[in-house]
Symmetry: C4
Subunit: 216 residues, 4 copies
């Protein structure tokens, strides 16, 4: 189609796309803390009453912690994947924008899970949103590898990297399903998922360690 | 006039203007999510009650979605237009600031339309604000093309590009008028408008595809 | 003093200082809109009731508008003044941080003036905060001119520029005093003050127009 | 361990890490002002009633001031320490992310201390969070010095610099303990701590003043 071919046009510079994305990521992680509201005390000077209220906030602290780590993980992967591209196209910019739209949505399910930690739907939706975010990131990644790859990096890429990302989709989905049986199990799955692949898979760039990063 | 000629002076670097603008765009799109408030439940653990409340939030989700796409579109066009300029002047900085002022205003009509999706005034004002934003962007675009164009890009520019932007002004205005008859029609118009011209018009840069982007 | 001389040390790069400052400026101008709260309606579909409430928000819209223009003016001047420096020192970083602290404070007096537009203290404090901000900016400007000036720009600088900035301090102070007689007069003064010197004084860089900007 | 060695891999560029970090720092300092809520007046035009309410906000203003200075101090040190690194690794990115997570947490204890300035637990937790932040920063600093140091800077570094940072940890901890005896003493300690080491220790770079900064 003529329209689709026009999406592939446009050699946009990556600088402003990165600046815009970094801004969104930075605001998302920092807005998360706004959900942690200072509790209302009857006895303003009572340390025990405050301690009691802070303990009740525990699910909110935990939701905040999990979301922060997940968004940082997305940011790190985003840095990596944009580093593979030699320039940007309209198609890539729109894939990136839709991905950022769902990133910026994360504070909502995070707040909902923190507020209703015993509600299976609230906990389940958190996993669902993260699964969708992972899928959108995979689309962005696949688009860049297929269309915009810097030639010198083509042979440093493990062809299994993208396939491995589906493990994240599966894991968040399992958490979303588990929430209907036990919210504790779901929290555990959400916490553990970003800890997989904290580092890139061992297979990539074995000969030239991390050339993908260095070449930028 | 002497005053006007002074606005044309000053060869300001574009770097910080872009950084400031990217910051404003990134914050605007991310603040939009703050309007999505977690609903209050009577039965904290009830999935059906939560589902019911989330469905009621549908107009808010839709307003958020529409605004996000529109602001991303403005950001993309802004990236493109600033890429045409060889430097900045005081006049351009002030046009840019006024444009950003109305961009940063967008969360207000978005929240209002989400809150009162059946109120014709609320829905109409959203379209009005978008029409004004498009007009301000046209002013910025025209100023740069007339005064600050990089010489090597002059012949890659389709003279109809700016004229085409008035289609957006007209479309948002039609939505603003339609809101008084049917808010559903207005929502539809607002959603479709940014989808026109997702890619730049085919006429531009046919010989040298998207030279405007590449040359930056 | 030994301590003072250590403040003058350290050849810090300007890049991150600019990035941090641009971030603060961008967030300040965008947070201002959060004070514009969507009004509560009894008849959700009533356009007249909404119109009535929006008219009541007029002082808030005006406060928002005035603050936005003032902060953009500060940002523009900040861009200019940091462009004069060949590098940064610890003293400059701290002056800049204190200036940014008072910039980030601006949403508070803006919200207060918008909420209590008839309260002389609320309106007066707005002017006071702006006068203090201008003074802090003068300190930053004077420090850079005295210690960090790029040699090639020394002769392009009008020695009266800094002295002229005190006009802003005086003007905001006059507004702050006028608020006790008439809040309307104060609003007018606040609105007009940033409009002076929208462009740099004619005297500067007459021979080499705006060399200060170009040289960056 | 094989896993640990993979953390040390990856020659990531510092640009986006700095942009992301600067974004987080800028948002944290600017969000602090959101805790300063405009007081509710019964007599909207009464200057005395407003003045009375503003005086009651004094602990909030003070908390805001202390936090702002502390975060600026962290930002300045962060700028310095990242300037020592020749590139980034996965290990460094994760240390940096965990440090930023606790930076972005600061608005919560700041709001709590401002709200309950007489509550020993609220005041104590503020010091505790700052001590943890300092510890995390020390970890980041030590990691960079041990693994990523630019060779040309190795001999400009005072080996005592990191050790000296523990003075900050001790000082915030003393404040956190003092809060249980006197919240005034704790506020004083928190205010004074960032004022130590406003400038880098005299020992560093005596021969080549601040080469660490200049070389970037």
């Amino acid at each position: 189609m003529r329209l689709l071919s026009r999406f592939a046009r446009g050699e946009l510079q990556l600088t402003r796309i990165e600046a815009f994305s970094d801004g969104v990521f930075a605001i998302v992680v920092t807005l998360l803390v706004l959900e942690l509201k200072v509790p209302s005390l009857r006895d303003l000077q009572s340390a025990t009453e405050l301690a009691h209220h802070l303990l009740e906030l525990l699910p909110k602290f935990l939701s905040w912690l999990i979301s922060f780590i997940i968004v940082c993980k997305f940011w790190l992967n985003h840095t990596h994947v944009l580093g593979l591209a030699r320039h940007a196209t309209y198609g890539m910019v729109w894939l990136n924008s839709i991905f950022l739209m769902f990133q910026s949505f994360i504070p909502f399910p995070t707040a909902m899970m923190g507020e209703y930690a015993d509600n299976p739907l609230a906990v389940s939706l958190f996993g669902l949103v993260m699964a969708v975010n992972t899928l959108l990131f995979i689309a962005l990644h696949a688009y860049i590898v297929a269309n915009l790859m810097k030639p010198e990096m083509a042979n440093t890429q493990d062809p299994h990297v993208i396939r491995n990302s589906f493990v994240g989709v599966a894991s968040y989905s399992i958490g979303a399903i588990a929430a209907w049986r036990s919210v504790y199990a779901a929290f555990l799955v959400y916490l553990l998922t970003p800890l997989f692949f904290l580092v890139p898979p061992a297979g990539r760039g074995a000969a030239q360690p991390s050339a993908g990063w260095a070449a930028r």
